[in-house]
């Protein structure tokens, strides 16, 4: 899993049927100290996350499919948790 910040929402009408009803969010991976790291990506939301929240993201197909609750979904990233708090380097 990785930590990421939700930075936006994506709307797509024409898509694979397994995405019907799923919420697609743009997430920016971040370091434990909240610095952006790497490129932003799309993740399906399994937990009701919103823009600006810090979240846990799985970057692996099988796990992401399970988070979405649909077998055979062509997904490779899913939000599986909303982070309340991070303690890192002795700091909150």
């Amino acid at each position: 899993m990785q930590m990421a910040r939700v930075i936006g929402t994506v709307v797509s009408t024409q898509k694979n049927e397994k995405f019907e009803g799923a919420k697609l969010l743009l997430v920016q991976p971040v370091d434990p100290d909240d610095k952006p790291r790497g490129n932003a990506l799309l993740a399906v939301d399994g937990v009701g996350a919103g823009v600006h929240e810090r979240v846990l993201v799985v970057l692996e197909g099988r796990a992401a499919g399970e988070a979405l609750g649909r077998k055979g979904a062509p997904v490779d990233a899913a939000i599986v948790g909303i982070i309340d708090q991070v303690e890192f380097d002795g700091r909150l």
Partner: protein
């Protein structure tokens, strides 16, 4: 998944038989600000995307799932056409 723009397509007559009938598109991954993000790649299309459109694609073996039960030897697949996105 990642954002990308479709910038071309590829035709290959001689290929793995499980690729028969699949549309191969050249895509350029994008940042949310629509800047190029890394190298272009070939992705197989299952949603009817055309050149110039903004799409999202999946990497890995999941790219073959839209073609189940055919096990297509692909590592990237376009799985949606993006209407628009909004940055918070």
């Amino acid at each position: 998944m990642h954002l990308a723009r479709v910038i071309g397509d590829v035709v290959a007559s001689r290929k793995d038989e499980n690729l028969n009938g699949l549309k191969l598109m050249i895509i350029q991954p994008l940042t949310p600000e629509r800047q190029p993000a890394g190298r272009t790649l070939i992705a197989v299309d299952s949603v009817g995307a055309g050149v110039g459109e903004e799409v999202f694609f999946v990497r890995g073996r999941e790219a073959s799932f839209p073609f189940f039960p055919v096990e297509a030897p692909v590592d990237a697949g376009i799985v949606g056409i993006v209407d628009h996105w909004t940055l918070g």
